[in-house]
Amino acid sequence: MPYRFTVNSRPVHVDAEADKPLLWVLREDLGLPGTKFGCGAGLCGACTVLIDGQAMRACQTPVRDAAGHAVITIEGVAALPAGRKLRDAWEAIDVPQCGYCQAGQIMSAAGLLAVSPQPDDGTIDGAMSGNICRCASYLRIRRAIRMAAGLPDVTGDAA
């Protein structure tokens, strides 16, 4: 089936089975491997993208549901002001360890800052609890989100 939507503000046209998840359409049909496969069940957040500005799990979104919508992936998130700030913060404090989950983390954080530009600690943990970091870079994920939001720096390192 043919489907049309936008990815990172560019119109795309794909011919795919209706139930093929957006995750695999991005990775296999559109050559955008930044969105990661972790669980295929909406449990780890590695595949998080923005659909019409909202953080969604691409593994749980059949391509037919993406049709007609605006999809932003890690490859394009820096075009959003918050996305750029998140990327800068992620790099500045070197959030990743293995790095596999980090695209999903940044996309969930972008979804968070879109609705809550200055989130408190509980809001950050709540919004990010759908994203697993197996290396447990969580202290830096919290810190980078605070930095991107312009909140006072809290490292989590203090003795």
Partner: protein, 729 residues
């Protein structure tokens, strides 16, 4: 991961790190993947271009432990260039050129600390020789900094690149004889350096095994026998092969079953999604009756029966434990247990392979490419040299990818599809069900205390898994497990149960479980003696000295152990036995020595309700020798390991078996710790000691688990002796 290291002398470093004679060479075949025409290869690890930019080869797999950054730091330091002057590339996997390429056992730092520096220092010496010849001066009259050679007397200076043509005519020095910098001269080592791939990660660039993309590539999904050890008895692939895009269904061996008997099917298709869906249309028949009797419940009752009797064999025996227990003023007894664990790397197991003209080219997220080469070559019946292995970045290792089942399987599928690259990918269920699990274990402890509170007797009956008197992989305990050597009457005995499950190394293997049982039980002993655990540990450790160790195994130095214990108590403001049952707040302590690293940790918890633990803060102090190479990544490693350990204790992780099968489906059944379970603060500090630098991937994990269990005891009065910790039972 438990492989013994060579002795830590200069010769050992050389042999371990770089194949003799191959350290410095101009053979382009030995260079980084390929040397562009405009660049000069100085040795197998270093290229320089006309603009005086350097390409440094990173030889070890990168699993998030930072070695793709750390090892090039060592080369760049001694080459004496600026960190902003270089680009880092992974080398090919070829231990004939690069020495052992391995991400396990926290071995990369101790085995590469000198060899990688020597690689850089030898290249610098060659550049100096070339400059000296060019300028007609003595090499001793030259200095370097940031990739520039200077002649002080004349004020002359030139970038390294100016000598690259002449360098090619300079004989490579003996790397063991090149002078190295003194620590005071370091400009890169010891400075915080961010990860070399971080910008690419933050931009979603393809880096990982799963991102491998090749022209004409096919995709494979796997159907594996649901019981480890079972085999394929037959299959009907008609339905799957009728699906558009499905190319083949190929019987393969995972290596987990008996040799030569396929135990899996690979469904090969134009896309992974198509292959994945077509799996449901394949009808496999398994021969696995022999494995059906294995179950978690069966293991538990068999273990209980063994613990009720005498151990099958002795591991360690000193003095007369029975007499000492009979004469003890207090006897403390407790049974501990821990479950099988999966690794749950976030990037599922995968490998891409291309079979062409009797050779196999592989793109693999493997921690252990050398073993992958050997076992894949053996499975395919080709010489090991017929494999080319590209090391991709790895989306989490934790020991899972020390095994190479995915490479062995991808190789077989590729061989069945000659000329077409094939990417084989597990889904999450495959990954959880076909892991090499951390083995479960059971311990029955007895300790005897004298009237003055000395630990005079200790016995442990350890029930583990094994056959024929040999433990399965990662199920062993060392005979000198602390505190054997410092207790006058001590007996460790072992009994073994059979299992069909494949087992393997999980970050800090053995230690991640033994730290929990020993440091928790010693906390009970300390309590019975009216002490706290740091006090008991100091008394047990005694004067600074080396304790006995098995040949080739790391030696515990009591002074170094004491150093981190004292430092963490100081850092956390430890003031004796903390917390009071019923207060809802508690503090616990744990120490462990593993992988040559010493760590002592303190955990503060609050009970948010009677059965829910919140970890508030953790203090971790380590001794990993004279130099922390990259303090930024060192802190990240420790913080990550601490949170992982908290997850093993509190997230509810366990792998269970019914009728021989692991039936886990996804992360809802094997929960990993999430951000809301992470403490808000983890303080990390290092004690510098006069020993060679050692690794950090593992040793900070084990002590947090008993420290947490001991903190829960302090807060609630309840002693939790089983992992995962549960207050609802």
């Amino acid at each position: 991961m438990s492989a013994a290291l060579p002795p830590l002398d200069r010769r050992g470093f050389l042999v371990a790190g770089c194949t003799a004679g191959a350290v410095l060479t101009f053979d382009a075949a030995m260079a980084l993947a390929e040397t562009p025409a405009a660049e000069t290869t100085i040795n197998a690890f270093i290229r320089i271009d006309a603009a005086n930019r350097f390409t440094i080869g990173a030889k070890n797999p990168e699993i998030g432990q930072g070695m793709r950054t750390t090892l090039p730091m060592l080369i760049a330091e001694e080459l004496d260039i600026g960190w902003d002057q270089l680009t880092i590339e992974p080398t090919l996997a070829d231990d004939r050129i690069f020495g052992r390429q391995y991400a396990g056992g926290s071995t990369a730092t101790p085995t590469n600390w000198l060899p990688m520096r020597q690689v850089g220092a030898a290249a610098r010496q060659m550049i100096l020789a070339a400059a000296a010849a060019e300028w007609g001066v003595s090499p001793d009259s030259l200095t370097t900094a940031k990739g520039v050679v200077r002649h002080g007397a004349s004020g002359r200076q030139a970038p390294y690149a100016a000598f690259s043509r002449r360098v090619a005519t300079i004989a490579a020095p003996d790397p063991g004889k090149v002078p190295l910098k003194q620590p005071a001269q370091f400009t890169i080592i010891g400075k915080p350096v961010t990860g070399v791939d971080t910008p690419a990660i933050a931009r979603g660039k393809p880096l990982f095994g799963i991102d491998t993309e090749l022209p004409g590539m096919l995709h494979a999904a796997v159907i594996k026998c649901p019981t480890h050890g079972g085999i394929l008895a037959g299959h009907d692939a008609t339905g799957a092969l009728r699906q558009p895009g499905v190319a083949a269904v190929v019987p393969i061996c995972s290596g987990q079953g008996p040799a030569g008997k396929p135990d899996a099917l690979a469904v090969v298709a134009r896309s992974w999604w198509t292959a994945n869906k077509a799996r449901a249309l394949v009808v496999p028949k398994w021969d696995n009756a022999a494995q059906r009797g294995h179950s978690t419940a069966g293991y538990a009752s068999a273990a209980a029966a063994r613990l009720a009797g005498a151990p099958e064999s002795d591991l360690y025996r000193s003095g007369d434990v029975a007499a000492a227990l009979a004469g003890a003023a207090h006897v403390v007894e407790a049974d501990y247990a821990y479950p099988f664990l999966a690794h749950g790397t976030l990037e599922p197991q995968n490998c891409t392979a291309l079979w062409q003209d009797g050779k196999l080219e592989v793109w693999a997220p493997t921690q252990n490419p050398g073993e992958g080469r050997a076992s894949t070559a053996a499975m395919l019946g080709i010489p090991p040299e017929a494999l080319i292995i590209h090391m991709t970045r790895i989306g989490g290792g934790f020991g899972r990818r020390l095994m190479n089942d995915y490479m062995v399987m991808a190789g077989q599928v590729a061989k069945a599809m000659p000329g077409r690259p094939v990417k084989l990918l597990f889904d999450r269920t495959d990954d959880l069900r076909h892991d090499y699990y951390r083995p479960a274990g059971w311990h029955k402890f007895k300790a005897g205390l004298s009237a003055s509170g000395e630990l005079v007797a200790l016995s442990d009956h350890f029930v583990t898994f094994g056959a024929g008197g040999r433990p399965v992989r990662a199920a062993e305990m060392g005979k000198y497990e602390f505190p054997a050597a410092v207790v006058p009457n001590c007996h460790y005995g072992v009994s073994m149960l059979p299992t069909n499950l494949s087992t393997g190394w999980l970050r800090a293997p053995m230690s991640n479980a033994l730290a929990f049982v020993f440091q928790s039980f010693l906390d009970e002993v300390a309590e019975a003696a009216g002490q706290d655990l740091p006090t008991l540990m100091r008394r047990l450790l005694g004067e600074p000295r080396e304790l006995p160790a098995e040949p080739g195994r790391p030696v515990l130095h009591t002074g170094r152990a004491r150093g981190v214990i004292d430092a963490v108590c100081e850092l956390a403001g430890w003031t004796g036995r903390p917390g009071s049952p019923g207060s809802g707040r508690g503090r616990g302590f744990g120490f462990y020595f593993s992988h040559r690293g010493y760590f002592a940790e303190v955990v503060d918890v609050t009970m948010t309700d009677p059965t829910t633990v919140r970890v508030d803060k953790v203090w971790a102090v380590g001794d990993i020798g004279s130099q922390v190479i990259n303090p930024l990544h060192a802190r990240h490693q420790v913080q990550g390991a601490v949170i992982e350990g908290i997850g093993q204790a509190l997230a509810g992780q366990k792998v269970e078996q019914v009728d021989g099968e692991v039936r886990l489906e996804n992360f809802h059944e094997f929960p990993l710790i999430r951000i809301d379970g992470a403490p808000r603060e983890i303080a990390v500090s290092f004690v510098q000691s006069d020993y060679p630098p050692t690794g950090l991937g593992e040793p900070s994990l084990p002590p947090v688990i008993p420290a947490l269990a001991n903190a829960v005891h302090a807060a609630t009065g309840r002693r939790l002796r089983n992992l995962p910790l549960s207050l609802t039972a």
